[in-house]
Symmetry: C2
Subunit: 107 residues, 2 copies
DNA sequence: TTCTTTAATCGGTACATTACGATAAAAGAA
DNA sequence: TTCTTTTATCGTAATGTACCGATTAAAGAA
């Protein structure tokens, strides 16, 4: 996972509403969960929720499946696990100490 | 760890430059590492680096120690580990399914 | 004291994010 | 066909972020 991808995913998780959206998607895992299902659980406008969903989508943390007239979203556990592994790797590099080969991604 | 704190920490890690700053701090763990030490390793102005450091500081991911005329920064591994635990807890809640009862530790 | 070093902060610019209501497009029902 | 539902997107305003150069304040050296 490149630094840019880690940063993008971290930023996607860097808003309380989006953490809650993930939790809402998780609770309705049996039945397909669409944007309106998420919206009724949050004190936000539909357009705002849709925007937050897009951030999670662009970060690759959730997946969209068109089902009839609605779009259903599911959590991408594989990507969340990947991010966890990347974070663990980051920590390992930081605790390592003396010499750590750091390759700077082009900023 | 509250959602707001998780989000703040995630956002602090949500920029490639700040990931590199953590790595730079880690490589110079023996000798105290100050702002100028970080700046020479990055293609950014001192004021910009200072700003990024402040974000990490406000998120509680690094610590400042005034040493003479310079401010030395060290990684707060405890807080990084806390964030990792919070992330693990988040994942557990998401994979759980219907209703997730979080935290059950009798203190 | 004055001079230098270090780093936070200020002022400014450009762009991104978050929120909203309103609109448009797509799919199913009538 | 028309009507409804659903949701992405548009337009907009307020706020936040990222970067810079310039300035200020603090500490040490001369």
């Amino acid at each position: 996972m490149r630094d840019d991808d880690i940063a993008t995913a971290m930023r996607a998780l860097g808003h309380p509403v989006r953490l809650n959206i993930l939790r809402i998607l998780a609770t309705q895992q049996q039945s397909p969960c669409c944007c309106s299902d998420v919206t009724v659980s949050l004190p936000l406008a539909q357009s705002t929720v849709s925007q937050h969903i897009k951030v999670l989508l662009d970060a690759g943390l959730i997946e969209r499946k068109s089902r009839g007239t609605r779009n259903c979203y599911t959590i991408r556990h594989d990507r969340l696990a990947e991010l966890g592994a990347a974070y663990t790797g980051l920590l390992a590099g930081l605790t390592g100490g003396p010499v750590k080969e750091l390759e700077m991604d082009p900023v």
